[in-house]
Structures are given as structure tokens and as C-alpha cells.
Amino acid sequence: MSTKTAKEAAGAAPAEEGSLALDLYRQVTRIRALELLLNRYVKEHGFGGFWHPGLGQEAVQAGAVMALRREDYLYYAHRGLGYALVKGMAPEVLLGDLFGRTGGSVGGKGGGTVHFVDPELGVLGQGGTLGSNFVLGAGAATSIQILGEDRVVAVFFGDGAAARGTFHEAALQAAVWKLPIVWVCENNGWHLSAPFSDQSPTEDIADRAAAYGVPGVVVDGQDALAVRAATLAAVERARAGEGPSLVEAKTLRIRGHYEGDPQKYRDDIADGLEVPRDPLAILRERVPAAEADALDAVAAEEAEAALEKALAMPKGGPEVVTQGVWA
């Protein structure tokens, strides 16, 4: 692993750290509760479409998104719904999208892996074609620069998506224009069935940042505090007009590529729900047990309630099919 690490300086002062850890714990356990609930739901009821579980990657999503402000833009990746949840979208809306309900954010067009959206919260989408996030994000950052806004764009991507040429095209231009972007790589070690280690000539994707003359740091993706600190440093740099940075969070893909993937190509992990180096456990060491327990309970309730609400929403019918093509 690279010797670069996130600047400690970017972390919070000790006094704040407790509440920060609690905030992160709240988000991680909220994502976890939804992930487990979805896992159970899919097992019991099946699922129309594809669902790419994010179990085990909650610390990256929570930590990085919590380094953003409400007005900052977010292009998320396909793995899970933690990104959008932490950015502020209601869990029933996200589930509504997953189940193709009209109460979902895309109004019933969703189903399976979807495209959550909330422009008010800066949640802008994900490329169904991997890697389009890079160029979209650079474009959004150009808008920010032209309008003189105080926003930052966070672009999430996997270790696989990092191979797309759009990364190179966007990164070069973003570096030259000093665009306010933070690239957050969730390196979970897999491009679907291909191990990252078989498909990357270098150990760290963060090393590729040097080609663009921008900072690249590697951070423990199971440690939400570390992810947040590294991302915050990058966000502040971007907001200060100093240009883009890359944060690579090393994490783990616990489940299949999609829920139901038999994963015959893999033997590094048992097909279960256990998370090695569990981000919840790591955070728990920083927060009072009672508070953690309480947050777990709230998260579980929130998830159950969201499921109930989502399932109560009507499905989209023929009328939604032709809506929204044109302004």
C-alpha cells in the first residue's frame, strides 16, 4: 500500500471527535440496517431487476458524503444506496425507486438498480455506463466555476470504473482548470468477477493522481473517521479553488456483484453477511455503547418503516412510461 496517508490535520479536534464519531455511527448503522433489510427482502420475495449490495462499504459512503455540504453535488456509484441516504434522501424514497414505485424519486420509472435523484440535495445520478460520472462531474464542476458558486462535486467510482478512459479525459481537464472535484474511489478489490489485483499494474489507484499533478491519498475504507478526514481535506482544497484530488478508500465487497450472484469465481470470502473489519465495530470503539445501541435501534426502525411505506406506494403504470422524455 502507498505510503501516502490522509493528513491527520484534516480530522476533527478531540473535543468534536466524539460527536463526529456518533454522527458517522448513525449514518453507518442507517445504511447497514437498510442493506440487511434489503438482503432479507430480496431473499424472501425476489427482486425485479438487479441490486448491487453495498454491505461492508458503508464507512466509505458515510465518511465521504459527510465531508460534503448540503449544496455540494454528488455523482454516486452503483453499489448500494448509502450515498444518497447520507446526503439526505429519505429511505422510503430510495426503496420506492428500487421497487419501481411512483413515490420514488424518479417517479416510478425505477426498479432494481436505479437512478435516485434529488437536485435540491445535490444528488445527481450515476452513469449506467461506468465511468460517465467522471465527465459529468467535471462538467458540473465547470458550472460551479462559471457561476462562481461555493460548491464541490464528489464523484464516486469503483476500482473497475477507474479504468475507463473518461477518468483520464476528465482528470486532465479538471487538473488544468482546477475544478472543485473530489474523486472517491471505493476500491473493494473486485471488478465484478475480476480481482483488482489482476487488473491493475499498481497496487494503489491513488498513485494515478500524480499523472495529473493532483493529490492522491489511500485511506482505510473501513474506518469512517479516516475516510471523512481524508475526504474533508480534499473537499476543502477543492472549495479553496486549488483543484481536484483523489481519495482511494480500501474496502471489501462482502456479497456478490449483484444480490444472487453465485460468485463461483471467488473464494476469498464466505457468502454471508459477516463484515471483516466491520466499520460499525470500528466506530463503536469511539462512541458510548448505549448511544450506539440506541442508534442501531432507531436505524432498524427507520428501515422497517421505510420498507412499509415504500411497499405501500403505487407502482408506475403506462402513464409514466412516456413522461419525462422532453422538457
Binding site: F50, G111, G127, G128, H191
Partner: protein, 330 residues
């Protein structure tokens, strides 16, 4: 002459074609995402990595411009790449490589470069794959000279057309329908079973109207024909099988007999392959037509992600039935 057949799925027929051609010719090789140990996201290449090894069955990273552009480079240097994009839509990620390099480089270089590459493109709706993973883009291949375009509708054609594609010295876009992968049918077992390009298959004989259908729509047209037969409306159903080259002779001969034609495809109706086929039918058989040539295709919208809604965008057997009933009444 009796032909030995076995009853296998469309995906498996493709798998057999790949294996047979790789055994026959050591220059044939494959690359794509997850085609190796995993056997492909749709399971089409299962077993091939074990049989042919990592040099000839290559997992790439997420790099469609390399998968297709690399195929072009490899094809002009003595090998025969058969590459897979996980979804046909990703052909647009490698648009330059497909439409410029593969399609034009033979011509641009005075015929001195050969480009015997096959790009396998899992096409069509499959249940929730969404707007960027469900399109039917074969018309684009038809519009750019230099590419052959195949669209098998049955397991036997999947095998026979793919083997022809691999042996063809020209680049071929091979649109395999994701929704047909599990459909079974009788497939000739012979290593030399080839379905020639440019020969339409008449799937059903009839005289009330000619339905030209491709891919998934062949089955739906036959379903509609079945239903209409009960009303003594006998459809002739023609599956062109390849769009480049396109066997207009068979289509025109049929329309000259039936006097009516409906073209059906899953692709967006506007500027789809059906527009070309309809335009050519009326050019060649205008005075034999008793009614305008009609077309059914997908609505002018992207494909919704929801698995139920996506079916509302593409033609159904019932819609084909309704359209034909109206057309024969004109």
C-alpha cells in the same frame, strides 16, 4: 438428408459455436469483461476459459474502447478476435472503434487490411436493466457501411450465424438477444453447421400479409400469427436474420404475393431498421401493395428501468395482432 440435432438453449448454442471455432482455428480468441473464470455475465462463455486458457480467453478491465479497438488491431495483424461487450449499448462507449476503425479501415487502406473481428452484443430488454443497458441499436450498424449485422432469433441461428460470422473476413456486429438466452430449440450438432449471411428465413407461410420481424419479435410475430390463424388470417413471417447483408429478395417475393407488409422490431420505431425495410418494400413492390407498409417498434422513449414498464415500450404479440388485423382490413 437428416441432420443430427440437440435441444439446447440459445446461450449454449453460442457457447458451442465459440468452442467449435476456437478448436478449429487457433487464431480465434476472445476478450471481454468477466468472460473468463466467471463465464460471462450471462453465462455464455462458461467452460471456455478452462478449455482454452488465459491467453485465448482474456478477461479485460472496464475498457470498451480497448475491447473493440483492440479487436480491430488484432484482426489486422493475423488473429480473429471475438469480443464481448456486456451490453450492446456499450457499443456507443466504443463508437469510434466500431463505426470508424472496424467499419472503415479496410476501405480507407485500399483493401490492404483485413478486419475479421466479431463483436458480440447482448441486445434488447432483459428485465430491469434500464435505459443504458436495454437498447436495440442494430440500425446504427446498418447505416455505417463496412459492418455486417446479424440478429439471430433462434438457437440454431445463434450457432450457425456466429460460426459464419467468425469465418467471415469482414467485421460483424452480432446482436444476441438477452431475452432469448434461455430459449431452447433444436440445434444441429455438426461442427460445420453454418447459417449463411443474407438469407432470410421464412418462419411461417401465409398469404394474408407479410410480417418481417427480427430478434425477440420473431417469436411474438409467430404468436400473433397463431392467434390470427384462428380467424383464417394466415401470416407469412419472415426473419431476415442478417440486416447487412439484407435479403430483400425473399421479402419482396412474399410481399408481391401477399400485397401487405408489416415490419416489427424491438428497436425504437423512428429511424430503425424497419424504416429501411419499409422504404425498400414500397420502392420495389409499390404496384403490388394493397396497403401502405406498416411498422411496429419501440416507442420514442428511453427504456424505463422497471421490468414491467419496459414491456410497455416494445411491441407485444397482442399489438402485432391488432396491427395486422387492421392492416388486412385496409
Amino acid at each position: 438428408m437428416s441432420v443430427e440435432t440437440e435441444r439446447i438453449g440459445y446461450a449454449w448454442a453460442i457457447n458451442h459455436a465459440l468452442a467449435e471455432e476456437m478448436r478449429r482455428d487457433p487464431r480465434v480468441w476472445m476478450m471481454g469483461q468477466d468472460i473468463g473464470r466467471m463465464g460471462g455475465v450471462f453465462g455464455v462463455t462458461r467452460g471456455l476459459f478452462d478449455e482454452f486458457g488465459p491467453a485465448r480467453v482474456r478477461d479485460t478491465t472496464i475498457n470498451e474502447t480497448f475491447i473493440v479497438g483492440g479487436a480491430a488491431g488484432a484482426a489486422m495483424t493475423g488473429t480473429i478476435p471475438v469480443v464481448e461487450l456486456q451490453f450492446a449499448d456499450f457499443g456507443l462507449v466504443a463508437g469510434d472503434e466500431i463505426f470508424h476503425k472496424l467499419a472503415k479501415w479496410r476501405y480507407m487502406h485500399g483493401g490492404k487490411l483485413e478486419l475479421p473481428a466479431v463483436v458480440r452484443l447482448p441486445t434488447g430488454v432483459v428485465g430491469g436493466a434500464g435505459a443504458e443497458h436495454s437498447q436495440s441499436l442494430e440500425a446504427m450498424g446498418m447505416h455505417v457501411p463496412g459492418l455486417k449485422v446479424a440478429l439471430p432469433a433462434t438457437p440454431a441461428d445463434a450457432k450457425g450465424l456466429l460460426k459464419s460470422a467468425i469465418r467471415d473476413p469482414n467485421p460483424v456486429l452480432f446482436f444476441e438477444h438477452k431475452g432469448l438466452y434461455r430459449v431452447k430449440g433444436e440445434v444441429p450438432t455438426s461442427d460445420d453447421y453454418l447459417v449463411p449471411f443474407g438469407e432470410a428465413a421464412i418462419r411461417r407461410r401465409g398469404d394474408a400479409a407479410t410480417v418481417v420481424a427480427t430478434g425477440l419479435m420473431v417469436g411474438r410475430a409467430l404468436e400473433a400469427a397463431e392467434a390470427l390463424a384462428a380467424e383464417d388470417i394466415e401470416l407469412e413471417v419472415i426473419d431476415p436474420r442478417t440486416l447487412v447483408p439484407l435479403d430483400m429478395d425473399t421479402i419482396i417475393a412474399s410481399v408481391e404475393r401477399t400485397g401487405r407488409a408489416l415490419v416489427v422490431h424491438e428497436a425504437v420505431r423512428t429511424a430503425g431498421a424497419g424504416a429501411e425495410i419499409a422504404a425498400r418494400i414500397q420502392e420495389a413492390a409499390f404496384f403490388a401493395l394493397d396497403a401502405p407498409v406498416w411498422r411496429l417498434g419501440a416507442l420514442d422513449t428511453p427504456i424505463p428501468q422497471d421490468p414491467e414498464l419496459e414491456q410497455l415500450v416494445i411491441p407485444s404479440a397482442a399489438q402485432i395482432e391488432v396491427a395486422v388485423r387492421e392492416l388486412v382490413g385496409l
